[in-house]
């Protein structure tokens, strides 16, 4: 392991450090409030390693959801990872032994750091990307452990901390809105989901919403292709 590569990878990962610690702590507290201790928290952060899915996952665990519901919800929440992977096929093609872990650890944040395909000069690019992925994963695990342990000793009540998940999605929504020109997909997402909620009720609306969204986006494809 080259010290310079390690150093460069750490510097690159610093923007994610603060974010993953904060959101990880939020996740750890949610798990504590739902009655799950450090063992379960670590298991989720190590083996799932997908922030929004883990927040939704707490809800699935406490509701004792079925395996089918859990699988379909995971597909919906994490579909975007398909597209991160698609766009990294070329960048990751020579990563060799590092490749499986790098694919496993391709989160939103890691993708945003590595998607430009650039790496510092004079270092092993694959090792560098592997280390950035590993640093980010470790921040996430450390954050969630901290939250899970500190959640029970905090000097104030944590009621309402679950809003951090809502805030996370609202912030992403606003950020997407500000960085895209065509807002049709976002509007379709809102309208289809609200319709689905009104028709199917709050227990069963997610799967129909996902189908409505995919159908609507497919139907307007011809009109959209020129504007995105």
């Amino acid at each position: 392991m080259n010290i310079k590569t390690l150093q460069q990878a750490f510097l690159k990962s610093i923007p994610v450090l603060a974010g993953y610690l904060t959101i990880g702590i939020g996740f750890g507290i949610l798990m504590r409030n739902a009655g799950y201790g450090v063992f379960w928290t670590i298991a989720m952060s190590v083996f799932i390693y997908a922030g929004s899915m883990q927040y939704v996952g707490v809800t699935l665990l406490t509701a004792s959801a079925s395996i089918l519901t859990t699988a379909i919800t995971t597909i919906m929440v994490n579909t975007r990872h398909l597209f991160y992977s698609i766009s990294m096929i070329d960048t990751y093609k020579d990563a060799g032994a590092y490749k499986p872990y790098m694919i496993f650890a391709l989160t939103d944040e890691t993708y945003s750091l590595l998607s430009d395909g650039k790496t510092p000069d004079d270092i092993d690019a694959s090792q560098y990307r592997f280390l950035v992925s590993l640093f980010n994963h470790s921040y996430w695990i450390i954050g969630s452990i901290l939250g899970n342990i500190l959640g029970s000793v905090l000097p104030f009540p944590t009621t309402g901390i679950e809003f951090s998940m809502t805030a996370l999605f609202i912030a992403s929504f606003v950020e997407q809105w500000l960085t895209t020109k065509n807002h049709m997909p976002a509007i379709i997402g809102l309208v289809c989901t609200i319709l689905s909620l009104l028709i199917f009720g709050r227990e069963n609306f997610l799967i129909p919403a996902m189908l409505f969204i995919t159908l609507a986006l497919t139907l307007i494809r011809n009109r959209m292709e020129d504007t995105i």
Binding site: I86, G189, M224
Partner: protein
């Protein structure tokens, strides 16, 4: 035991999604898939916002005011500073204060 199975399910499905393109695609994905790759993420985020807000009580006191005010804070903070972590922290703190102290 049930929790372990659900966590395993979430883990395996996530791994499957992340690996699938590397396993089946060699170079360029089909045009329809690329199109979905561009338009699905904003739509799914919108869906998740609604999913999070699905249990709001709109038609009775306090008329979901905590959620509305906290969500407005997140939106304003994000438009203003473009710093997601800060927006999330502000919104969550505002929400906790509102439901713990104001709209008890």
């Amino acid at each position: 035991m049930n929790s372990a199975i659900l966590i395993l399910t979430m883990s395996l499905v996530t791994i499957f999604l992340r690996f699938l393109p590397f396993l089946i695609l060699k170079k360029e994905p089909p045009a329809y898939i690329s199109y979905l790759g561009k338009v699905l993420p904003p739509a799914i985020i919108a869906m998740l916002v609604i999913f999070c807000l699905k249990d709001m009580t709109i038609l009775a006191y306090p008329y979901a005011l905590s959620e509305i005010i906290a969500a407005a804070c997140v939106i304003v903070a994000q438009v203003w500073k473009r710093n997601s972590i800060m927006s999330i922290l502000i919104g969550t703190i505002v929400y906790m204060i509102l439901i713990q102290i104001i709209f008890v």
